[in-house]
Symmetry: C2
Subunit: 340 residues, 2 copies
DNA sequence: CTGAAAGCGCTAACAT
DNA sequence: ATGTTAGCGCTTTCAG
């Protein structure tokens, strides 16, 4: 990279002049038109691009804002990313330009390849989302030189923002129990995720404790997408007797499942009731509308950045909730029991 | 903000020592445990936070990557933001850490308040998305000191990545014409957006040119959301005779509209056919599935960052498509005409 | 084991 | 109208 001095040399002026011209202060300093032209030309010839860190260091007026990186995997579904960012943006910190947000994409299970995390040279702190079990294992054995907040994961030695996934699973099982169901099923996305794992465990263990049967053929695994949910539900309906109710661990798959049932003439909630997870924006507009466990993504995102800001800069006193509660949003695919 | 020298003073060591300790090089340099402790304590007491720009300037190994800001309004729907980011992330530039992506939220119509754009001190270039007419007016009268790429907007003096919205509108009108419809309608989101405006004009003008009627009561305006689409469709169905086909300018509203029709027993596509816009992830799973104009958000996002990188650094030779084509994805709400 | 000093690329104040 | 120079806050030799 060529710098301002190279331009100065090429244009036969001093670096001060170059800086002035390049920053549009030519007028103020009444620099000769010919000189300006020479400077611009040299800059162009050298492919000059200002060094932002250097500029900011010198300018200093906004040198004070902490830089925060958001590690997000690029293979996850867009809608959650959107909701998460919306939550981040809604946080007062962002609105007042109190932090600078850097997006740092990483590949699932490859967090270890992100050296910027290890070196800590590019940002003051990081929010890590979508960590797989492998990523968590990596985190457990490194000692990062900067504060980190995990989103939807928990790992010794790290702070987290999350919901109690296990409890969410229990809640759904309890709902099915209250409705008097005996045979229940679940559809799980095929991903390595603590969150999914816990939801599943909470559901299955509670179901069994309450005397319901979660038969092996009623436990389906498929891709984390509408299509995956469709396939899983298709397999479910082509086989043995249906369960009375089905917990689908993410809305996207639930939406696909509803389609599969409808195509096969299986009535929801008549023959089988369905509960999704996430309470995504589209859940209210499926047919039938989808009962779903509401995940407060936006609030959690805001909490994550708040917590991180506090870790970076203990001066601020922000009370931050670190574990959020979920609740079931009742719609038609699994109507509310009034006398629960 | 206190710096490394303050710590040095407080801990009675030199700044070199402080730096070494803080960067975990205590071991390598065999610095006394007591000294380390003093340093850490002083750092904590002073609420020390490293100055990232300064550190990067010095470290210099990654000082070369251009910094790019993405201006996005926080009041837009999440799903598009997610798709856009996914597209950005999928670009080779991002994958190879060839750029540093900064998220810069701004309030609709308030782009003028973002001084970082004017000063150009925080990044090398910017992608501006969701600009309203007011924002464009602002852009037309300032002279920004850095390269800018507009997403889905066009404005003299700026480069853009976009689709031909007008042509998209025409395409839908032509489809309706080919199907032999005479009375068509449209639902428009209530936002200030060139893109929406152009789609609408393209549709209406072409419809009229082809001899179809777009009656005043068949032109609805409502909120940019499922709910808005629902309300608009509800008004449409409670009034005068329905149009034969309806162009809904965004999928979210189309999804709401389908719900409204179903609740009222109006058959789609039997009594009215519906075409949406965006081809969002959920469009395949509505009832009936939604025919929609596919917007190549992901590819456009990748093109936007590619174009910007090229503007920042003319050295790179990347061929960038600046205008993308849309196409209609046929599903059940408006089936394909075979002999078109 | 620790201190002193140079310099990253840039801007701004001060000279000329 | 342009050149000179002093740092911004930090890391990193190099001397002790």
């Amino acid at each position: 990279m060529s710098g301002i001095r190279d331009i100065a040399k090429l244009a036969n002026v001093s670096n001060g002049t170059v800086s002035a011209v390049l920053n549009g202060k030519g007028d103020a300093l009444r620099i000769a038109a010919a000189t300006r032209e020479r400077v611009w030309e040299a800059a162009r010839a050298l492919n000059y691009r200002p060094n932002i860190p250097a500029r900011r260091l010198r300018t200093a007026d906004d040198t004070g804002v902490p830089v925060v990186a958001l590690f997000w995997t690029w293979d996850t579904r867009s809608s959650l990313m959107g909701r998460f960012l919306k939550g981040i943006q809604s946080s007062p910190l962002c609105q007042e330009n109190g932090v600078e947000l850097l997006i740092q994409p990483y590949a699932s299970s490859c967090l270890g390849k992100e050296l910027s995390l290890l070196r800590g040279t590019r940002f003051n702190g990081a929010i890590i989302a979508n960590a797989t079990e492998l990523d968590l294992a990596y985190l457990s054995q490194v000692n990062l030189p900067l504060p980190v907040v995990l989103y939807q994961r928990s790992q010794e030695g790290y702070r987290s923002i999350q919901v109690d996934h296990y409890a969410s699973g229990c809640e759904v099982a309890e709902l099915f129990h209250a409705k008097g169901f005996r045979q229940v099923g679940l559809i799980t996305p095929h991903v390595s995720s603590q969150a999914i794992q816990l939801r599943q465990e909470g559901f299955v263990e509670t179901a069994e404790r309450l005397g319901m049967l979660v038969a092996g053929e009623h436990r389906l695994l498929d891709a984390f997408s509408e299509q995956g949910g469709y396939e899983a539900a298709a397999r479910l309906s082509s086989g043995p007797p249906l369960p009375e109710a089905l917990f689908v661990l993410c809305d996207q798959m639930a939406i696909g499942a509803l389609t599969a049932f409808r195509e096969r003439g299986i009535e929801v909630p008549g023959q089988i009731q369905v509960v999704g997870y996430d309470d995504s924006e589209g859940a209210a507009f499926t047919v039938p509308s989808l009962t779903s466990v509401h995940l407060p993504v936006e609030r959690m995102a805001a909490a994550a950045i708040g917590l991180l800001a506090k870790l970076i800069d203990p001066g601020r006193e922000l009370a931050v909730i670190e574990t959020f509660a979920t609740h079931i949003v009742y719609r038609n695919s699994c109507p509310e029991v009034k006398n629960l």
